[in-house]
Amino acid sequence: MGVMDDPLRRPSDAEVGAALQQNEVMGGPVRLPGGIALPVQIERVLGFGRSFSFWPLLFGLACCAIEMMALGGSRFDMARFGMEAMRASPRQADGMIVAGWCTIKMAPRVVRLYEQIPDPKWVLAMGSCAVSGNVWDTYHVVQGIDSLIPVDVYVPGCPPRPEALWQGLEMIRDRVKQSRHAYDGLRRIPAREVLLHGEPRP
């Protein structure tokens, strides 16, 4: 369990490769039931298809959620890239737009929602609050959602305009096409590890 020893150390590529074989870490190519990786061409085709079918979780925390809804509205229309099918259940979502500040009360739920999304998944931190905590440098706010879950794209702004979120989603789509995830090479279910074993309690 070499990768698991030190939670703060980035593992080397070789370690990640070994851990991938044993299904200890996340990411990597799509696997068939026998553990056989798909050829890269098929992976590309899948990625291309997936990039047009990125369904975010219907989940808003604060102000930014309203701008996220505006992106789904008529003027911006995220449906053009097949993203309008926002799923209310994390089981059917492909990613998460963390829209708003995350408090320590909400943090375990955000992590839980993230974990409930099946792989492959992508996370977009929308708004300064999700990126860094914004002005809410107080006793009850998590200073940046990336301390809890691996984030793919950061969109700063308070709140970001829908166009900015759109650019962020385009960057997510690029990552989808290339099958790159923020959690590549990380231990399986990293956030829960932190919540359970990180000191003190959540």
Binding site: I104, E193, V194, G198, R201
Partner: protein, 171 residues
């Protein structure tokens, strides 16, 4: 700005003085708001009188809040309620000073809307409302330690609540 009280508040004040006399600790007014300070023992009596008396008829509790004045060493806490009468259209502020650890009877029986307010005052300042049906933490996590709105509680950092935040970029 302090033009003094308008007539309806004068009536309220007269009525309260007639009923409670010297038991009202002090009346102040600032910017046209009338404030009555009462002893914690009289809290329930004054407020139920405000609720029921016909000339007062404060049928809505606008808000209840706690406050911390650390320089007032004997009674560093304060509970403030803002009352509103839909019948007469006047407002009244009633406050009471509280010592550390001193209880105050709940007023959820008079105005149900005090429920959340009292829970908040408890979790933020540690003011116990005796007889409150459900005095749990409201806004913070259930295992939060300390009373965050007290002046000696730090604004920053994760003093009371626990989520590790020093792992940025590591996981």
């Amino acid at each position: 700005m302090n033009e003094g009280l308008d007539t309806s508040l004068t009536v309220v004040l007269a009525k309260l003085e007639k009923r409670f006399g010297g038991r009202l600790r002090k009346q102040t007014e600032c910017c046209g708001d009338l404030t009555i300070t009462v002893e914690p023992e009289d809290w329930m009596r004054v407020l139920s009188f405000c609720r029921s008396a016909r000339e007062l008829a404060f049928d809505q509790l606008d808000c209840l809040l706690g406050d911390h004045l650390p320089e007032r060493t004997g009674a560093p806490f304060e509970v403030v309620v803002h009352l509103l009468s839909h019948t007469h259209g006047h407002r009244l502020r009633v406050t009471t000073p509280l010592a550390e650890g001193q209880d105050l009877p709940t007023i959820t029986g008079l105005w149900p809307s005090a429920g959340f307010d009292e829970r908040e005052a408890w979790e933020m300042y540690g003011i116990v409302f005796a007889g409150h049906p459900d005095l749990r933490r409201l806004l913070t996590t259930e295992d939060f330690e300390g009373f965050p709105m007290r002046k000696d509680f730090p604004l920053r950092g994760t003093v009371g609540g626990r989520i590790r935040t020093d792992l940025r970029g590591k996981i």
